[in-house]
């Protein structure tokens, strides 16, 4: 399929070199790494290599700190539930209003089970208030979970500093790093982060493989008990081909990290500034000065995101939106609402996320197409009149709530 894929925060294409590395592990290298014979032994060695490749990507001190899981969500659940089970006397959790559902839905569930969940709010640029955070840190807190970079806006959170603060009161610290891992150098051995989640398919490895980083010495209770795989920390026969693929993907990500932070960041900036210059009443959400190099989230006022995506799709362009309609829910993105983005803009947010495969020609094409699409939809909008919004839009169009 020839299209322009600017939705790399949703998932990425598996790198051909990753596929190549994986293929033998479906056929001749099919052995179970737990077996004594040579069929198994070679696979065991391949997993060891992959573990070291991930260790290097994360800047972890030991390769045994890398636990392979099935996905980012499993890593998140394992981390939080482990922290609660390991410290039954602590009944509180601190997280943020803008986390991924993998954390938020779990926390809502834990709240029903009697845990107290504190949600840190963000300002209009999606930034946390560290003073408010410090006030919540007590000896009741079992675990703090804060994403390293937000999936919708790309905004970074100061997790290294927050982990130190958490440790000062004896709480564990977990970070959901699925968006940042592979894009920005991480040096976990120099941090106090106890646990970290990574997802393979965000960095050109296949879907169905994830990692839980577990700093040596962190008290741990497994989610899945059974065999001795992953040193008993995650039972279940290893997804060997995908583990090998993730190892290769980690190596490639490390090698292209400089490119990601210069060339891809430049393309992203070009895309963003050109669209903003051509489309009136549009703005960037999140904190543009402190975010992932590949992500741009733009709000187009007075129109709705799903309609934008359908029209983009007609031109072969793939992106995401924070509108309610794209997810089938009744509210627009919780991230946009948390930042106080008004409804008339939150529904019209579009996230463009690039990868190392993105090209200048693709960026130019999107810059050409987007303004036309926005204009086309605004012609249909009751909030828009000719070249600009109707004066006092909220009063001119005040529908009966239905």
């Amino acid at each position: 399929m020839n299209g322009i894929y600017f939705d790399n925060n949703a998932t990425t294409r598996v790198d051909p070199a990753v596929v190549e590395a994986m293929l033998p592990y479906f056929t001749e290298q099919f052995g179970n790494p737990s077996s004594m014979h040579s069929f198994g032994n070679k696979v065991g060695l391949a997993i060891k290599k992959a573990r070291m490749q991930v260790q290097e990507l994360l800047g972890a001190e030991h390769d045994s700190e890398v636990v392979f899981t099935s996905c980012g969500t499993e890593s998140d659940s394992t981390a939080l539930l482990s922290a609660l089970r390991a410290q039954p006397e602590r009944r509180e959790i601190i997280t943020t209003t803008v986390e991924h559902p993998a954390i938020l839905t779990l926390c809502t569930h834990l709240e029903k089970e009697g845990y107290k969940v504190h949600l840190l709010s963000v300002d209009e640029k999606g930034r946390l208030d560290l003073e408010a955070y410090k006030k919540l840190l007590t000896e009741q807190v079992a675990v703090v979970s804060v994403m390293w970079a937000n999936n919708e806006t790309g905004t970074y959170f100061p997790v290294v500093e927050m982990a130190e603060l958490a440790h000062a009161c004896g709480a564990m610290f977990h970070t959901d790093a699925v968006q940042i891992a592979g894009k920005v150098p991480l040096n976990l051995k120099d941090t106090q982060i106890d646990m970290l989640s990574l997802s393979g398919h965000k960095l050109h490895a296949p879907k169905g493989i994830g990692v839980l980083y577990l700093k040596r010495g962190t008290r741990f209770r497994p989610l899945l008990r059974g065999g001795h795989q992953e040193r008993g920390r995650r039972a279940g026969t290893e997804n060997t081909a995908s583990i090998v693929g993730l190892g290769k993907a980690a190596e490639l990500a490390l090698a292209s990290m400089a490119f990601e932070n210069t060339e891809i960041a430049r393309l992203r900036d070009k895309l963003e500034t050109s669209i903003l210059a051509k489309v009136p009443r549009s703005f960037v959400t999140g904190d543009p000065s402190n975010r992932l190099p590949n992500t741009s989230n733009i709000a187009f006022e007075f129109i709705e995101g799903e309609a934008i995506l359908l029209l983009l799709n007609k031109f072969g362009i793939a992106a995401s939106s924070g509108s309610a309609c794209t997810s089938g829910s009744l509210e627009p993105s919780h991230v946009m609402r948390a930042m106080g983005v008004p409804y008339t803009a939150a529904h019209g947010t579009v996230r463009f996320s690039l990868s190392r495969y993105s090209t200048e020609a693709e960026v130019d094409r999107v810059i050409q197409v987007v303004p036309e699409i926005i204009q086309q939809l605004r012609k249909l909008s009751p909030y828009w009149d000719g070249a600009g919004p109707v004066t006092d839009p909220e009063k001119v169009f005040a529908p009966t709530y239905a």
Binding site: A307, L311, A324, G328, Y343, L380, S381, P382, T400
Partner: protein, 295 residues
């Protein structure tokens, strides 16, 4: 990606009657900007005859909201106001060859805009009579508010009862956890505790139908749709019932008809509603089977 019909896509990509109607004499504005859908419907009504001479719309919303608005204007043009008021949200959805369950509210918004515009023309005030909640049951498109209200009004206390009253949870059953949560909440309001597995106060009749009862019900549903099929020169025959699979034979003009998959889908829906369980209707002829799967 939503599974939109070609008709929905057509009305989204080429909306009919979009834009401001300059000399409108009936305007309805409905929707909710928090939900991301809002619609202004403008009518030009001939006062003597009450006929809608022209209708245009402006919509803030997703693909199906724009398509529903476009379809609505096409349906009502040329109708009298009284005729137009008979248009249901299902008529709008049918006109578009169906909408995904999450998107049925777009057709509801269309019908409400129509009511609001007619009220405006007649100098009346239109009030919205329902509140929309989060979608709980995807098989039957039932939202949380409807479930809550039904539990409250009828003092329901089991998932089975909720299914019997609202159909919610009667299909794939994945939403039962959600229904249990709503039950627990509403029951605690009236000072009761939700206990899973407790029996309904009145024995719910559709539970545990015998095979004979089921087949009779299936036959009755097929009998009810038969006149419609015959009118189009076709027919349907019940071949076999194997657990949750119902085998039928489409005959006459129905066999090989382009619309067969859709017809079957409609019959399947009616059967599920009647039997209050999830079933699958399968045409026995190979050619129609492949078409049904594509549909």
């Amino acid at each position: 990606m939503w599974d939109y019909s070609d008709k929905v896509k057509d009305h989204f990509f080429q909306p009919r009657n979009a834009g401001v109607l300059k000399d409108a004499n009936g305007v309805g504005e409905v929707g909710s900007i928090s939900c991301g859908d809002a619609l202004r419907l403008m009518l030009k009504v001939e006062p003597e005859s009450g006929i809608i001479l022209d209708a245009q719309f402006q919509t803030f919303g997703c693909g199906s909201a724009i398509a529903s608005s476009s379809a609505l204007t096409e349906i009502i043009k040329g109708k009298t106001l009284d005729e137009a008021l008979l248009v249901s949200n299902q008529d709008i959805a049918d006109y578009l060859d169906g909408l995904p369950p999450e998107k049925m509210h777009c057709s509801v918004m269309g019908r409400e805009a129509l009511q609001a515009a007619v009220a405006n023309y007649r100098g009346e005030v239109w009030r919205d009579d329902h509140e929309e909640g989060a979608l709980v049951c995807k098989c039957f498109a039932i939202d949380a508010v409807l479930i809550e209200n039904t539990i409250r009004q009828n003092n329901l206390c089991t998932v089975q009862e909720v299914t019997n009253y609202t159909k919610a949870g009667g299909g794939c059953s994945s939403c039962h956890e959600g229904i249990e949560e709503i039950l627990a909440e509403v029951m605690s309001e009236r000072g009761e505790t939700y206990k899973p597995g407790s029996l309904p106060k009145e024995a719910a009749s559709p539970v545990g139908l015998s095979n004979l009862q089921r087949i009779r019900k299936i036959e009755a549903v097929l009998e009810a749709v038969r006149p419609q099929l015959r009118r189009d020169g076709g027919d349907i025959e019940l071949m076999d019932v194997d657990g949750k699979t119902i085998y039928v034979n489409m005959t006459g003009a129905c066999a090989g008809c382009q619309m067969e998959a859709m017809t079957l889908q409609g019959i399947q829906q009616k059967l599920m509603e009647e039997l209050k369980e999830f079933i699958k209707i399968v045409p026995t002829k190979v050619s129609s089977l492949t078409r049904a799967m594509k549909g």
